[in-house]
Symmetry: C2
Subunit: 298 residues, 2 copies
């Protein structure tokens, strides 16, 4: 009797970028045997060196073409603003039948930038894991990052359904709960759940940075009173977030306009001492927290 | 040889209100033997009944005068808007030499409302523990709430220094790190570290509440992307927070004005695609997070 090892889900996984998401994908793919070979590339020599030291890749490549050659799954783990150039650079080297996906927090702009470069016979299926921490770089990854978290796929209309199904199976094996939705709807939902909260956190921490020095030290000392949570969010990767705001401009500006109107409403209630308006809102928002807890997201 | 038990720090501690802070104070006072007797009062019969069931008080009182009679330490654990009425009601029953303090997140307004009712020979020392959770009510208290957290005293100029020292010792025994500062300065620091973050969290969760129903469900489902932290903050006690905003109006409105200007600046950068402005701010805010971590507040 011959000992036959089970076939991995993909023969060769190419990870473009090895930050928090890329390195976490390498960890979970190795642990769950989702790929026979894990190839990693990064445009940063320091990152490549560190990836080699950490040992979570089977091969590291300075040239993107060498990483994607022969890969049946390619995952772009770079800031959304870089996806177009990456797609263009790797396109000539993609294997027929390969699945290409990404992990960006904006989907319409990534589709606009990537899809035109995808050769016939290669399947681009945009994706977005709803998972992250405030840490970045190849040292920050861990296999459990996606466990129990959402993963949104925004398949391109008319695209290959088998490729979507295979990618769904990959993410489910990584622990994610997969949802499919329209790219425009994704960008709107993420604008309110993620992009606006980050923009506001960055803003308020920036407002505190600009206070006079004596007050600033006390802001840090007494941050446990609410500010602390905002500093964690505002410590996220600057380039990644710059790209998100530049590439989801319309949806972010629309949500920001709604938010500003609501904030002005509260500002006026404070100025005029209208306690009932404040209490009414504060009571309604409690219900949303109960929803979050019931949905096991807290 | 007679077995002499050590003297507790105070003979009788009267807690006015038994929410998160009041019940946590009862737990720590009992554990650390900070008071020979713990008396609790609340204007809510349901709360009093629950306090009796939970057993963390030595006596419960429907009448505030009965709770404070003979107490050498009285702590107001009620929303800041209620402090004036509470002070007026208990004043005739306060024992000579008693120390009265509070736990409110606003200090100038509490001094304005409470101090006029304090009889000669009784010492009012305003205080504020920088500690809390999003939970409220007598069941939410726990002895460790103040451990390692800040406690700000804003002594009234010309007041009794021995009373300040005794109160400082009480809070230090409860695990707090005590800082003294001017009441106006306190209100300004808390406006940016606590009041504005809460106002913004309430606002953004409210903005999400008002979205169409289909989007709202997805906001909850995908809240792990940043929104979740805001829902926790926006689940805090509505009446307590209403009172804070109404009673720290000037400082909150000033910080809100600064915040709005900064947000408009970012909004304009997004609209005009000025990525360098975004990246610059996002990089500066990371430094504040490092400060919070270095100060062991995260």
């Amino acid at each position: 009797m011959t000992d036959i090892a089970p076939q991995p889900m993909f023969q060769r996984l190419a990870l473009i970028g090895a930050g928090l998401i890329g390195s976490s994908l390498a960890h979970i793919a190795r642990r769950e045997k989702l790929a026979g070979h894990i190839a990693v590339t990064s445009r940063s020599p320091a990152t490549l060196k560190r990836v080699a030291e950490l040992g979570f890749a089977d091969s590291v490549h300075a040239e993107i073409g060498d990483a994607v050659a022969g890969a049946d799954l390619v995952i772009l783990c770079v800031p959304v603003g870089a996806c177009g150039a990456v797609a263009e650079a790797m396109a000539p080297h993609l294997a027929p039948g390969a699945i290409v996906t990404d992990v960006g927090s904006v989907k319409q702009a990534v589709i606009r930038d990537v899809q035109p470069h995808i050769p016939a016979g290669v399947h681009f299926v945009p994706g977005h894991p709803i998972a992250g921490t405030e840490h970045s770089g190849p040292d920050s990854g861990f296999a459990e990052l996606f466990n129990g978290r959402g993963l949104i796929l925004t398949p391109i209309p008319g695209g290959d359904e088998a490729a979507v199904a295979r990618l769904r199976a990959f993410w489910e094996a990584a622990g994610s709960t997969v949802t499919e939705m329209d790219a425009a709807h994704h960008d709107k939902v993420l604008a309110i759940t993620s992009h606006l909260p980050h923009l506001i956190a960055y803003t308020i921490v920036g407002t505190a940075v600009d206070l006079e020095e004596s007050t600033k030290n006390e802001v840090i000392k007494f941050s446990a009173s609410g500010f602390r949570d905002f500093t964690r969010i505002a410590a996220s990767d600057p380039v990644m977030w710059r790209d998100i705001f530049l590439n989801n401009r319309e949806a972010v500006l629309e949500m920001l306009q709604r938010f500003s109107e609501d904030l002005t409403h509260l500002q006026r209630a404070i100025r005029w001492g209208e306690g009932d308006k404040l209490e009414d809102l504060f009571t309604r928002t409690r219900a949303i927290r109960r929803g979050v807890i019931a949905a096991k997201q807290a």
